[in-house]
């Protein structure tokens, strides 16, 4: 008799669990609909710190600087010569891997600078197109350096490095891309 009474009591305190799944489903659907799993991608850059008014920008030798000018129509001028956008990558690679061989290109990879100059009316799209080509040039050179270290490509090398800042490839060939101010018109 005592056992029977106990059983009855526990039954009374029970919460119906049948609707639990339905409630959870509703919440699940809400979060499914509102979730956006998109990874932000883009071209990363680091801006130079602001200069003092009277301080001049650090001098760069003419031969170490690869000048790319993008006109207000989006046309590309490579070292003052009109050029197609898909030639930029090859020039950048030639410039940073020159190592003093050709007097028109950089003395060493460490001293090489790529300067991108635009007009104020230049469309952003053409600027990003050129910047992309320059970065792809650097990535191709870095891929080659990573292969010398025994990695299939630069991305795998960076993944292997993890959080450590000791990036040998980038120490050897730093990416120096300068965004020049347009001439006052």
């Amino acid at each position: 008799m005592a056992a029977l009474l106990k059983k009855k009591k526990s039954r009374e305190a029970e919460i119906p669990m049948a609707s639990m799944a339905d409630i959870a489903f509703l919440l699940l659907i809400f979060f499914l609909v509102t979730t956006t799993i998109d990874v932000d991608t883009g071209i990363g850059m680091v801006l130079p710190p602001p200069l003092d008014q009277e301080q001049d920008p650090p001098p760069v030798k003419e031969r170490n600087m690869l000048k790319i000018l993008i006109s207000d129509q989006g046309a590309v001028l490579l070292e003052d010569k009109p050029s197609a956008i898909n030639l930029v990558r090859g020039e950048v690679i030639k410039h940073i891997t020159n190592d003093g061989a050709d007097p028109n290109y950089a003395e060493s990879a460490r001293k090489a600078v790529v300067s991108i100059k635009t007009a104020r009316q230049t469309p952003y799209e053409s600027y990003v197109g050129v910047l992309d080509e320059v970065w792809m040039g650097y990535f191709e050179v870095w891929d080659g350096e990573a292969r010398k270290l025994g990695f299939p490509n630069y991305k795998d090398y960076v993944a292997e490095l993890g959080d450590s800042k000791d990036n040998e490839v980038r120490d050897k060939i730093p990416a120096a891309i300068s965004i020049a101010e347009p001439d006052p018109s």
Binding site: M20, F31, I43, G44
Partner: protein
């Protein structure tokens, strides 16, 4: 006799449903954790350009967005180019400096993601970059889509 058989088979095919809420809760918790609720409405059009040399931003909490593009007007029309940070349109470009400096104090490793419309002119982008330099937020990211 036939009804007896039927009953027996039906009990055999039953799936245990006791663990169903647990499974659903697991999924629910996964989506709750991964969800980033969009808290801003973008008032300018940002059609992003495409590029190949992409880097991913893994830590979303470091990112602050800055939108540049033609203003969206009622009736699918586009207005003048404007700059937007968070929820507000910035009237004066020089105001970016203070806004970004305050954000930098909160998050010293701040990355500013520039979501610029592909039709925008470089002039406004360069002005924004000058302001970011003054604010000290030097890590930027030109938001682009993957080239097809």
């Amino acid at each position: 006799m036939s009804s007896h058989f039927k009953k027996k088979t039906s009990t055999k095919q039953e799936i245990p449903l006791a663990s169903l809420p647990d499974i659903i809760f697991m999924l629910l918790i996964f989506f709750m954790v991964t969800t980033v609720l969009r808290e801003t409405t973008v008032q300018v059009r940002t059609l992003l350009p495409r590029a190949e040399a992409l880097t991913k931003i893994d830590q979303k909490r470091l990112v602050s967005y800055l939108y540049v593009g033609p203003k969206k007007l009622p009736g699918n029309k586009l207005g003048d180019t404007a700059v937007q940070i968070d929820d507000a349109l910035i009237d004066d470009v020089n105001a970016i400096r203070t806004v970004m400096y305050r954000k930098l104090l909160e998050q010293p490793k701040l990355i500013v993601s520039l979501r610029v419309d592909e039709t925008s002119e470089m002039g406004i982008v360069l002005d924004v970059q000058q302001e970011l330099r003054q604010a000290g937020t030097l890590r930027i990211n030109y938001s682009t889509k993957r080239e097809l």
